[in-house]
Amino acid sequence: MKCEIEQAGGSLIVKLGGEIDQHCAEEIRSNIDRELDLKNSSSLIIDLGEVDFMDSSGLGLIMGRYKKMAARGGTIMLARPKPNVNRLLEMSGIKKLIGRK
């Protein structure tokens, strides 16, 4: 699992990579939330470009961050999912919920 975080303007950009499952979801969640609170970012961009595998633990992670951003009037965007990850996102209805890039 890879999780690189950088702030650009008002946006927090999170670059995820590798395999995202329940084993690592908690670590990713606390990393993102720490930076979000620290930088008080108004938008969150999750770059899924290097994610090779994701299951519903990843969906829970994304939904949780969506709620967190919505609660502070911010936005969240998902970028560059690979085909298998995209099928999971489509199936879950999460893309309709948060809009897409």
Partner: protein
């Protein structure tokens, strides 16, 4: 022709990646494409994760995984994942999209829905206090036969 493999793993979350990779590697002897392989790996990950976090609730337990390949005109990959954990009181309700008993842990409640849509059959048997058996299968039509 029929082929099978059996695996037994302790309920540690580090084994989620191993379980889906192992089943995926075994299934790869069939003619499946990358989408079908991804579907199987994701579904195995869902069932094994459920056994770990809901079945055994992070206590030590054993998860039994079986994979059977039945080749024929259509090849059938059957995966069974069994635990001897908490069990499910109401299976029908548990399988509804978005239903979860652990919302505070940021679960999406989509695990069974993922298995249902990524596999061709899904059969869940469970008894409260005894454990859960998830049996699912995927039909693989070989490239040659699909072209006929």
């Amino acid at each position: 022709m029929q082929n099978y493999m059996k695996l037994e793993i302790p309920s540690k979350s580090v084994n989620e990646a191993f379980a889906r990779a192992a089943v995926g590697a075994f299934a790869a002897q069939t003619d499946l494409n990358i989408d079908e392989l991804a579907d199987i790996k994701t579904s195995v990950s869902e069932a094994v994760t459920n056994s770990i976090i809901h079945g055994y609730r992070d206590a030590d337990g054993t998860i039994y995984i079986e994979c059977v390949i039945k080749s024929g005109k259509t090849c059938i990959i059957e995966v069974t994942i069994r635990d001897e954990g908490a069990g499910i009181a109401n299976v029908e309700r548990a399988m509804e999209p978005l239903f979860t008993t652990a919302p505070d842990e940021e679960r999406s409640g989509m695990g069974f829905t993922v298995m249902q849509s990524f596999m061709d059959t899904l059969d869940v048997t469970s008894e409260k206090g005894r454990g859960t058996i998830v049996k699912m299968s995927k039909y693989i039509r070989s490239g040659d036969e699909a072209a006929l």
